[in-house]
Amino acid sequence: MAHDDELEAQVDRWRGYVHSRQVISTADVDELEDHLRGQVADLRATGLDDDEAFLVAIKRLGNLDAVSREYAREHSDRLWKQLALVPDDAADSKVPRWRELAVVLGLAFGAGVAVRAGISWFGDDEVGLVRNVGLLVLPFLAAYLGWKRKAGPRTVAAVVVPFVVLAVVLNVYPFHPEGSTELLAILHAPVVMWLVVGLAYVAGSWRSDGRRMDFVRFTGELAIYYTLLALGGGVLLGLTAGMLQIVGLDPGPGIAGWVMPFAVPGALVVAAWLVEAKQDVVENIAPVLTRIFTPLTIAMLLAVLVVLIASGGIVEVDRDLLIVMDAILVLVLALLVYSISARDPFAPPGLADWLQLVMVGAALAVDAVMLTAMLTRIAQFGTSPNKIAALGLNLLLLVHLGASAWRSARFLRGRGTFAQLERWQTRYLPVYGAWAAVVVLVFPPLFDFV
């Protein structure tokens, strides 16, 4: 038996090695494995031992580079990885082929129905609709992820309870009309909800840094797939609308009232399904984009800094500028997290890591300028919910960026590991969710719902 175990282990390692060639599909590896086992069995029958038989069999299969070139000549299409949404061989998966598709389409339709019902329910109360739109859509996404992960009752509770609490808070709090606490709640509630979606994504293992990083990757890919779906959908809608206009029908009300309420939320669930289905079929694109945009962002940050300093009076920085600057810093953070998520933790420091450090440094400088401006404003005009929320976010960003800069500098100088820098990111992310929850739950009563 021990011999067989050893042979199985060797075959497993070989499978992994062959499978790393993208032109050799899983079915091909199965076929080659069948061949290998036949050869090994025959060689053993002639008196070779397991090791010898395995080595000879491998040798006879030929140089893997040459063989994969042959496969590539026959299956050049595989170099363009194919997305098999509905797996061909049901033998591998226990779930029937079409069940997942049915669940996805059902949930996408459900999200559409929820949004459509919300539009009818709130009628002219547009703020009410905006306040609730996340609650109408994201539970369907969380439901899909939970279904996919076969979430246990604790995960279900951890997802359902926050959604219920948010639904109650957002609709029961007596917000003043057009008050800033309501706007803040509207802006921050999606952050909390996204964290809850993350709980559904990681299912039981919410403590695992690796799973948290997977959720970060999922978020980036989801954004890209969603954008692509939106572009494709836009083209389709535009063509349809153009055709209808030529015929003399006005497509406006139909599109605004019926197509968009179903398409926009539905596409989110479908995009999540695509990200889940592709697994490793398509290279992750978000990290590729970060590589391109890191140097460009450095240029932008430096330009912003120069403008801020050259314009003289930092005190005159107004609220709109602060909001834009916060958006820029959040973008920098996303770039940082995505480039970290895609990096091989064991690779030695390289140019990209230096660029990243420069970017974080520039962002820190911008953040410091902004914090100064904010504190000056608060000292001059007193506090307001908006200012406190912005101040809090900037402090969070400052801590995040500062610690990231420190850790990546240590890594670049060989004093720390990349894993420490990566862990810092995943450990810190929930803090944003907690802060957003404070803004949604505590700020309105604290500031009398103004």
């Binding site: 079915a27 061949h35 040459a66 026959e74």
Partner: protein, 120 residues
């Protein structure tokens, strides 16, 4: 015996089709049959057989189906198709012309000595 790559490539298709014409087989059994037929003198790089089989499948000369081996593993069986038989007949005709011509050449000019001496 080592065979030139081009010769292997040229003879592989008719050999595989000819072997499949006798009955459906899986990859390893096809290779074993090649070994038997050539008395063990023809040894291919085993891994090259499968891309060839896939090419023949794409051309419609063979069809494949997944079954299970005696040990219960997945095993892909290949069967020759009518177009494969037609292709085989054509190749057979071509090869008999080649073999016939070669035989006459061999008869006219006796085998050259493998080592040519007297060069210095």
């Amino acid at each position: 015996m080592h065979f030139d790559k081009d010769l292997v490539a040229a003879s592989a298709t008719p050999l595989v089709l000819g072997i499949l014409a006798d009955g459906d087989l899986y990859g390893y059994a096809i290779l074993k049959r090649v070994g038997e037929l050539s008395g063990g003198r023809m040894q291919w790089t085993d891994g090259m057989l499968y891309p060839l089989l896939h090419r023949l499948e794409r051309l419609g000369h063979v069809s494949s189906s997944w079954g299970t081996s005696e040990t219960g593993r997945r095993r892909k069986h290949y069967a020759i198709s009518p177009t494969g038989r037609a292709a085989l007949a054509e190749r057979q005709a071509q090869w008999s012309v080649v073999a016939d011509a070669l035989r006459q050449v061999w008869e006219a000019a006796p085998r050259p000595a493998t080592v040519v001496e007297g060069w210095a």
